[in-house]
């Protein structure tokens, strides 16, 4: 380009300006200042979330008092009392323990199956096709819809519930893990191959940590699906071999018209969900993907 961009204009020369910047210590204003308590609290996500929960509880309490019908809609305070009573006499904890035992089996088996499927999918093109086709077929199928079939196959018992829980976990975890594997940056893949890593070692040492944000989000979704399916299955299916779960507790108390206990059962479901999501998963994320800067 020979012509000046500003055709027809010429820059007029102006005098140069040279200044010496101050040292940090010479600047009068404080460089660091502590934030007031309210602002520091507002920066904590747990504090903000606690505020949300408090508001919801308050709205509940007000609404229940307006309705003023314990049989239909017990207040927050009545529910809390019922919850503590159920915990105190040991019934609730026993029910929760039963639910958790089945959940652990189903969740564990689902993760194992997902790991095998995605491992195969990472290794070969046909494996990837098998996984995406199966996921597309079975992911939209509500787990609870399989319960009648499961009862036919496995009979009344733990086996049937574990089967539907596995179904609810497997596809969510497999899908997310597979998506995670596929979005691992090329440079990281090639770096891993460059070290001479192949096969299972390559998957475990490179792909899994690199895809961890997706894998964790799959595990979270899988957890929610599993928990949901489990409670629903217990509601439909009731008790087996003398020990019912949390869903059975809710069903049983509804039959007895103990509405505050029904609410206490639902509250337990919610509290466990909150705990797993915001304590357990949060802790794992803080120590991994957030620390590594892969997720905010």
């Amino acid at each position: 380009m020979s012509e000046s961009y500003y055709t027809g204009r010429r820059a007029t020369p102006r005098p140069e300006i040279l200044r010496k910047p101050l040292q940090a210590s010479e600047i009068g204003a404080p460089v660091q200042e502590k934030l007031p308590l309210a602002l520091r609290l507002a920066d904590q996500s747990w504090a903000r979330r606690l505020l949300v929960i408090a508001c919801v509880s308050l709205l509940w309490e007000i609404n229940a008092r307006v309705i003023n019908n314990t049989l239909l809609f017990p207040t927050f305070i009545e529910t809390t009392i019922a919850l503590f009573r159920a915990i105190a006499d040991g019934v609730l904890l026993e029910r929760v323990a039963t639910s958790f035992r089945i959940l652990a089996m189903g969740y564990g088996a689902g993760m194992l199956a997902a790991a095998i499927l995605t491992g195969l999918a990472a290794g070969s093109r046909i494996g990837a096709d098998i996984l995406s086709t199966l996921t597309a077929m079975f992911n939209p199928l509500p787990a609870i819809a399989l319960l009648p079939l499961a009862l036919l196959w496995f009979g009344l018992g733990t086996g049937s519930i574990v089967f539907v829980v596995v179904h609810s976990v497997l596809w969510a975890v497999a899908l997310n893990t597979h998506v995670g594997f596929r979005s691992v940056p090329d440079a990281q893949r090639m770096a891993g191959q460059n070290y001479g890593l192949r096969g299972l070692r390559y998957v475990c040492l490179i792909l899994v940590p690199a895809a961890l944000p997706s894998i964790l989000s799959g595990l979270k979704i899988g957890w929610a699906f599993a928990w949901r399916t489990l409670i629903a299955a217990e509601l439909v299916f009731g008790v087996s071999s003398g020990a019912g779960g949390l869903g059975w507790f809710i069903f049983e108390r509804r039959n007895a018209l103990e509405t505050a206990d029904v609410f206490a059962g639902l509250m337990t479901v919610i509290l466990i969900g909150l705990f797993v999501e915001s304590v357990i998963f949060r802790a794992v994320e803080n120590r991994t993907v957030i620390r590594w800067g892969m997720q905010r």
Partner: protein, 276 residues
């Protein structure tokens, strides 16, 4: 220095060469077509060379480097490292990529440098970390050993990648435009540091760039490639130049020579391609 265009290195030099690339044609598949990236490219890299592959985008220089890395199989020709054919990626040819995300984000700086040593079975854990520390210090990151990659600047990340590759003491260090994504000031400093490390450690590198200036400064030997598909136009000697010669007459004349080679007859064609 000879000014007339010369055919590239000849066969008798094979014996002393570390890396032989013989008549290598590279093709890659896109969903619609098969693209020929390079056509019968030959060159020899000797021990201690800073061998630069230089050419405009589309000359297949990065593809060529990946083929030497073992990531791509040549459609034709042979790539031999110390007399052994290159078949797959391996830790004897460590790569430094252009991308900043080549470091493993779940490992600290020190762990990133130590990991390939352990993964490739070159060293036990303690020994690997010890050697990693030496190389992290060599690239001037002693204060950042325990930092995670996401907290580093682009230049620091590339320094870690270079330390990681050098700690493996590979036969040849493959560098794929390692400074292309850096700002000009950082790039200049990194080039100087690389030359300093070469004086210090004495490695062999195959370095890809599209900057003539970088090629002359970093390289001791420059392979000039033509675009679409890449063919060897010249193999030049630049072992006498570094940053101190930047404005000098010799530097300028070599720069101009390469520039003419690359752009003289393709200027029109290039313009057409970029406007498509």
């Amino acid at each position: 220095m000879d000014t007339s265009p010369q055919p590239p290195a000849k066969a008798p030099q094979n014996a002393t060469a570390l890396l032989n690339v013989r008549d290598v044609t590279l093709r890659y598949k896109t969903p619609e077509q098969i693209v020929t990236a390079t056509w019968r490219v030959s060159f020899d890299v000797r021990e201690g060379d800073r061998f630069v592959l230089l050419g405009p985008s589309g000359c297949g220089k990065s593809t060529l480097l990946k083929a030497v890395g073992g990531f791509i199989e040549p459609a034709e020709g042979k790539i031999m490292l110390r007399g052994q054919p290159v078949l797959r990626p391996g830790p004897d040819r460590m790569m430094v990529f252009q991308e900043f995300d080549q470091l493993l984000p779940w490992k600290t700086v020190l762990a990133n440098v130590a990991f390939p040593l352990i993964a490739a079975g070159r060293a036990k854990r303690a020994e690997a970390y010890e050697r990693a520390r030496v190389y992290v210090e060599k690239v001037g990151l002693a204060r950042a050993t325990d930092a995670y990659p996401h907290t580093l600047s682009g230049g620091m990340k590339q320094r870690v990648a270079i330390a990681r590759a050098m700690a493996m003491k590979p036969d040849i260090l493959l560098m794929d435009e390692p400074y292309a994504a850096l700002d000009a000031l950082t790039r200049r400093r990194m080039q100087e540091e690389l030359l300093g490390l070469w004086d210090d450690i004495g490695f062999t590198t195959l370095f890809v760039t599209h900057s003539i200036e970088e090629a002359i400064i970093v390289g001791s030997r420059i392979l000039v490639l033509s675009p679409h598909p890449g063919q060897v136009m010249a193999e030049l000697d630049a072992s006498t130049f570094d940053h101190r010669h930047l404005g000098g007459a010799d530097f300028q004349s070599l720069h101009r020579r390469i520039h003419t080679m690359l752009f003289a007859d393709s200027a029109v064609a290039d313009a057409e391609v970029t406007h498509e």
